[in-house]
């Protein structure tokens, strides 16, 4: 632990960020039609040999890599070569985009209309655009936007068109393609479709990876995909998926291009279109299958004020510099490069680390609105009042005071906070609340969460015709919606919060003890939050640095001392993490007490949900947000990772969960602070 003492912290407040320009402003003042039809001459990759989308396909089909795999498949299956070839062509046909400018122009026109009604502004950092333009000229570029909404990729293409940048080709999930008309429109605006899972399908993988690589290497267009793999329903960043990142890094590792630029893009929505949809989905109302009419309906229903969008194009990250002193590229010297090989351990961990770095880069440039802080405070207050069995509301003045305190704290932690400094804090708070009037209600100077039934219900007390369970779920929709906003600020507070909780649960304030506890929690939550693998020490030091810098904590001879004013900070931080701590404990308890023999992974979420509802209704658990299936799945993943639960493979028991009750029990107790974090446990974890 001491070995990393050289780790130097840059004061997060010194982070320099670009200014934003609102691109809708011009749209409100000039013709959308002229804009859609204007001359579009993007800067292209300097080594680009222009080629049409159709030529691209034949390049892919004739590539050495694909020919090799086709040959392999023939040998394995006994199929004729032209049959397999035809299959490959069909896969490609299904997958390939048909990017054409006219469709983009169509979207430029219609989206201008749509955006102007939905959003107050779409703000883009123009310096980032300039950096991107430079990057596109120099090297093949990969765009990596955060993924919070369906809007994301249309929005990206819209912005790139606006700034005369090369239009990207976008990896999209196959479910979009099911939407007949929209699917084709998206295809013509640059989307290419990939199946959600194609595990062992060698041919599919070969076509897919070669298609992406061919576009990338030739600089045909920037390749865009979502590192998180899917839209985050919780607004927390998701653990990155490595498949596509592996593919786009490969040409560099094999020397086929000099470098690849990865550009993280942070898209922050003040209000997310899918807000309530996500909450329902997390609560087990199944996600509606993407259908064209559904999308239109959604748009109609939601045609109200969604505030503003901030799109921040981050600093391009060079794969070459990421790989410097990390990857020995000589390992590709001894086998022809077109023969597909599973990436070795070192490559895997390199790609994984890079993925985390990129997601953190996305997080770092996410713009936070005051509402994010308000939601955090309101949720905490709601819970505290609930525990105290008081009315779950808060005086507006008090909320404002706390918000100002939290504003200053989050700025010290380096948050990219857009707080309107030109108006008084109370005005800033009021206007934020009014934008989210679906979630909060203000009456007589008091603020509370906007539960449909009004007033508060005590668990167990039936209320009119609605069953307690329905009532609970209705409340949970509001709570989870609020939580999704609070979650946007999690990455700011996460490390200090882990430290605060560690201090809280550790058996003493000895630095080593606290570190052990920190390390345990961090390990426990590494499926829940973005925590780079192997960076425990850095994270710990960072957390210490922030808490010490802000005067909340002192370190005297290896002892942590919480200062007078530190109690407020640490209290806030522990409360931030508390729902997760409780949630994980409940899941553990479920597995020990309630899980039936032969429980499968599929049955897990419904079963644990039932268990939790029961607990909440009987008052044994206060946190409604534990109902989030995201949290439940993450905790299961963590337990699987730690070996406390095993997933059986093969045979009739496929997917059955085998619970090591002793271990799960001890994890639960450790989480609850009942058991000290033993060194041995930490080491084993």
């Amino acid at each position: 632990m001491a070995s990393e003492a050289v780790y130097t912290h840059r004061d997060p407040m010194l982070k320099k960020r670009d200014d934003f320009e609102d691109i809708l402003e011009e749209r409100r003042n000039s013709s959308d039609l002229r804009y859609a039809l204007r001359c579009y001459i993007p800067v292209l990759y300097k080594e680009l040999t222009p080629c049409k989308a159709s030529e691209l396909k034949s390049m892919v089909l004739q590539s050495d890599q694909l020919r090799y795999v086709i040959n392999q498949v023939c040998k394995e299956t006994g199929m004729a070569a032209d049959e397999v070839q035809a299959e490959a062509a069909a896969i490609l046909e299904e997958m390939a985009h048909r990017l054409q400018l006219s469709t983009i122009r169509f979207f430029a026109f219609t989206l201008s209309k749509v955006f102007k009604t939905l959003f107050r502004s779409i703000c883009v950092n123009e310096e980032g655009i300039q950096r991107l333009q430079q990057a596109i000229h120099e090297h093949p570029v990969v765009l990596l936007p955060s993924h919070r909404s369906y809007m994301d990729f249309l929005l990206m293409s819209y912005i790139l068109y606006t700034y005369d940048l090369a239009l990207p080709v976008i990896a999209a999930g196959m479910d979009f393609m099911a939407m007949k008309f929209v699917g084709e429109m998206l295809r013509m605006s640059g989307a290419f479709f990939i199946r959600r899972s194609f595990g062992g399908d060698k041919l599919y993988w070969a076509v897919f990876s070669e298609y992406v690589k061919t576009m990338l290497k030739n600089g045909f267009a920037p390749v865009e995909f979502f590192l998180e793999g899917t839209r985050s329903r919780t607004c927390k960043s998701l653990t990155p998926k490595l498949g596509l990142l592996n593919i786009v890094m490969d040409p560099f590792l094999k020397g086929e291009v000099f470098d690849v630029s990865l550009v993280p893009v942070s898209i922050s929505y003040e209000r997310i279109l899918e807000e309530a949809l996500y909450a329902r989905e997390l609560l087990g109302v199944p996600k509606p299958k993407e259908s064209t009419s559904g999308l239109f309906k959604a748009r109609k229903v939601l045609s109200e004020d969604y505030g503003s969008i901030h799109v921040y194009f981050g600093q391009p990250v060079s794969v070459r510099s990421l790989a410097q002193n990390r990857v020995d590229r000589c390992q590709f010297n001894l086998i022809p490069r077109h023969i597909p090989r599973k990436p070795g351990e070192d490559i895997h961990s390199f790609v994984n680390d890079s993925a985390y770095r990129l997601v953190r880069a996305q997080e770092e440039n996410m713009v936070l609105k005051p509402w994010v802080l308000l939601a955090s405070l309101l949720l905490q207050n709601h819970h505290q009042m609930q525990v105290a069995e008081q009315k779950q509301e808060m005086a507006l003045d008090e909320l404002t005071e706390q918000a100002v305190w939290l504003r200053d704290l989050s700025r010290q932690y380096g948050a990219f906070l857009h707080w309107p400094d030109h108006v008084s804090p109370s005005e800033a708070v009021s206007s934020s609340l009014s934008l989210h009037r679906g979630l909060v209600r203000i009456s007589e100077g008091r603020v509370q969460l906007a539960f449909e039934q009004g007033g508060q219900t005590r668990p167990g007390e039936p209320c009119s015709t609605v069953t307690p369970e329905e009532e609970l779920l209705n409340q949970a929709v509001i709570i989870l919606s609020c939580a999704s906003y609070r979650n946007q600020a999690l990455h700011i507070f996460l490390r200090p919060a882990l430290l605060a909780s560690a201090i809280h649960t550790a058996s003493s304030s000895n630095k080593q003890e606290v570190y052990n506890s920190f390390s345990f929690l961090r390990n426990m939550f590494s499926n829940e939050f973005i925590l780079c693998p192997g960076a425990t020490v850095q994270d710990f030091e960072e957390a210490c640095y922030l808490l010490v810098k802000t005067g909340a904590l002192q370190i005297n001879q290896q002892e942590f001392v919480v200062t007078e004013r530190g109690h407020r900070t640490l209290g806030f931080l522990t409360r931030m993490l508390d729902p997760f701590l409780q949630g994980y404990q409940v899941v553990c308890r479920f597995l020990c007490e309630d899980a039936t023999e032969g429980l499968t992974e599929k049955q897990f979420v419904p079963a644990v949900r039932k268990f939790i509802i029961r607990h909440i209704l009987t008052g044994r658990l206060r946190y409604t947000e534990v109902l989030s299936s995201d949290l439940q799945k993450n905790s299961l993943a963590a337990l699987l990772r730690l070996g406390a639960v095993q997933k059986l493979k093969g045979g009739e028991e496929q997917g059955t969960l085998k619970v090591n009750k002793v271990m799960v029990n001890s994890l639960e107790d450790t989480l609850g602070g009942k058991l000290p974090t033993q060194k041995a446990v930490v080491a084993r974890l």
Partner: protein, 601 residues
């Protein structure tokens, strides 16, 4: 040692001056520069009108004005004729700056009694203390001398060498064999940590052809002979070896063997390992040689391969039996212009696939094409240049070739007339399939000229803040384009990162084709105005470029060797076990490290 500078076409392009008798070679510095490349009388300079001129009478370019060079030089490097950096010491070496020799008196006494010539004159010692790496020449121009040999000996024959090595072993003296001095791997640098007396063993007096065997087509030659002499003497009997490394004006047979040299015309004659039939080497353990001259043997690992590439760490090569060939009846140059480098490489690959490579085939990238253009001497006839203009028009406009992308391959065919013409047609037909356009013999010939003047040009650059170097690798065919692109880009990137103020020249060419790959040469030079330690920057960039080469599947060296410059990568290159094998040979052959130049291992 074959670095590319030097006369390429030794025999064919430049007319030899009345060659100095061998005696002169005792003190080579009398006809050669001691702090630059080549002959003292041959150098580039900018005359009063600002036009480049090449002095002397030795080369085709000698005495001619090269009008395009100044513009190319200034625009490529951002250099200016106003900003000069002449060598800081006079052309005459200042002996007092050289460390006094550390002599092993007993050794010197015994050696004197053998009658073998020796010297501890400062000039003789400094001249043999270096090869032609940039940092070596740069230091000399600044009058800086590090550790230099303490003494020079000139054995006259194999037996002299045996005596010297015996005495060196007896008195624990460090021996460093010296052939032509064209090393570009720091192989000749004296290890600074060496405390023993260092003796430079100059093989230049062992320069006779001992016999020619016309029945077997072999010649037995003393290893100190210099390439151009060997060819000239063989030519007198109607033969040649065909081994023409670009350094052949100055490099020696023993040096070729010790570094695994490669010749321009290896496609017809083979590289040194293909040409050698028998080698005699004197080692501390005695003389190693095979008992017969059979053309191939299955007698365990070929001991010749311990000798070839040993870089002076095991002993001194004294005599070599080499294959010879009747002189070719007919030679023809040629050139092909391709729309871009990719097409050019594809064409070379196809030529290799069909195994129909001419004696030499080289592909230059666009930068080198332009460089070649800049080196055109002034022509007296308006008519010629008019035709040139037409040709340029035809290539750049008519065929739609982009002058900033096109590249040129130069060709040399050799053999009997009929076959040469047939061969030529075959190659041009292949080229046509890749968009190649025949561009005439003159362009081809001039292309080869570029090779031997480039080393002289480096000295010119060094007068104006420009330093540079070339280095080579070999790489499988499928990697050729990638390695060219990536290494060139890496050089540019590194220069920028290291604070070089001007964009560097970063260019390459494919110089040899093989069944399974090619040899690629990189040239790299930059204007160092504004840098406090240009050589250090240069070395960092070269180091990075080598790392890039290795990361892209290139070899550590195709024919320059390892020396001390590339030692750090040897273990990764040949594996730990491989290193152990080489070390154990060294330990057996030379347990006391008499051959202590510390190359390779």
């Amino acid at each position: 040692c074959g670095r590319q500078p030097g006369s390429i076409v030794g025999v064919h392009v430049h007319c030899y001056p009345n060659l100095c008798p061998y005696l002169f070679f005792f003190h080579r510095q009398e006809i050669m520069k001691w702090n630059g490349w080549g002959y003292s009388d041959s150098r580039f300079f900018f005359n009063k009108k600002g036009q480049a001129e090449f002095t002397g009478r030795r080369y085709r370019l000698s005495g001619l004005i090269i009008p395009g060079l100044k513009d190319w030089f200034e625009s490529t490097f951002g250099a200016s004729l106003q900003h000069k950096t002449p060598a800081t010491v006079s052309p005459i070496l200042n002996s007092s700056a050289v460390q006094p020799p550390t002599l092993n008196e007993a050794f010197v006494e015994e050696l004197k009694s053998t009658g073998i010539p020796l010297s501890h004159d400062a000039e003789d010692r400094v001249f043999r203390a270096h090869g032609h790496c940039l940092h070596e020449i740069f230091a000399l121009r600044e009058g800086k001398f590090g550790r230099v040999p303490d003494m020079v000996v000139w054995p006259n024959c194999h037996n002299d060498v045996v005596k010297i090595v015996e005495l060196a072993c007896k008195h624990n003296v460090c021996l460093i064999p010296y052939g032509g001095g064209t090393s570009v791997s720091s192989a000749l640098e004296c290890p600074p940590e060496e405390t023993r007396s260092i003796v430079s063993l100059d093989t230049s007096q062992m320069n006779r052809i001992l016999w020619i065997d016309e029945k077997n087509l072999t010649a037995h030659v003393e290893a100190g002979i210099v390439g151009q002499d060997l060819e000239r003497l063989l030519n007198e009997s109607g033969y040649c070896t065909g081994h023409e490394p670009d350094s052949m004006e100055f490099s020696s047979l023993g040096g070729w063997v010790a570094t695994r040299a490669s010749g321009m015309k290896k496609n017809v004659y083979g590289n040194i390992e293909d040409l050698v039939v028998h080698v005699k080497m004197v080692t501390p353990q005695g003389v190693i040689e095979k008992s017969c001259q059979g053309p191939r043997m299955s007698t365990g690992p070929d001991v010749h391969h311990f000798i070839m590439g040993s870089e002076g760490t095991l002993g001194v090569v004294t005599e070599v039996t080499m294959k010879i060939r009747p002189m070719p009846e007919y030679q023809k140059y040629g050139s092909v212009v391709f729309p871009n480098f990719e097409q050019g490489v594809a064409c070379l690959r196809e030529v290799a696939r069909q195994r129909c490579a001419p004696a030499s085939i080289r592909l230059m990238d666009n930068e080198q094409f332009k460089f070649g253009h800049a080196l055109k001497p002034q022509v007296s006839s308006i008519f010629t240049s008019f035709l040139d203009g037409l040709k340029k028009f035809y290539i750049t406009k008519f065929k739609g070739f982009d002058p900033n992308r096109l590249c040129v391959a130069t060709l040399l065919f050799e053999g009997d007339r009929e076959k040469v013409l047939q061969h030529e047609k075959q190659v041009y037909d292949i080229a046509a399939k890749f968009g190649g356009l025949a561009a005439g013999e003159d362009n081809g010939q001039r292309g080869y000229m570029l090779t031997f003047v480039i080393a002289y040009l480096r000295d010119l650059g060094m007068d104006y803040y420009v330093i540079g170097e070339s280095f080579e690798t070999s790489v499988p065919w499928d990697r050729v384009l990638d390695i060219c692109r990536n290494v060139k880009a890496r050089i540019i990137r590194e220069c920028k990162d290291k604070g070089v103020q001007f964009s560097p020249l970063s260019t390459c060419r494919v110089t040899q084709t093989y069944d399974a790959g090619a040899c690629v040469y990189f040239y790299f030079a930059f204007n160092y105005r504004g840098l406090s330690d240009p050589v250090h920057v240069y070395e960092q960039v070269e180091h990075a470029a080598r790392e890039e080469i290795l990361a892209n599947g290139g070899s550590l060296s195709h024919h320059h060797g390892v020396g001390k410059l590339r030692k750090e990568w040897m273990r990764d290159t040949i594996s730990k076990v491989g290193m152990g094998m080489l070390k154990s040979v060294k330990d057996y052959v030379d347990p006391n490290n008499i051959f202590g130049n510390r190359n390779l291992l």
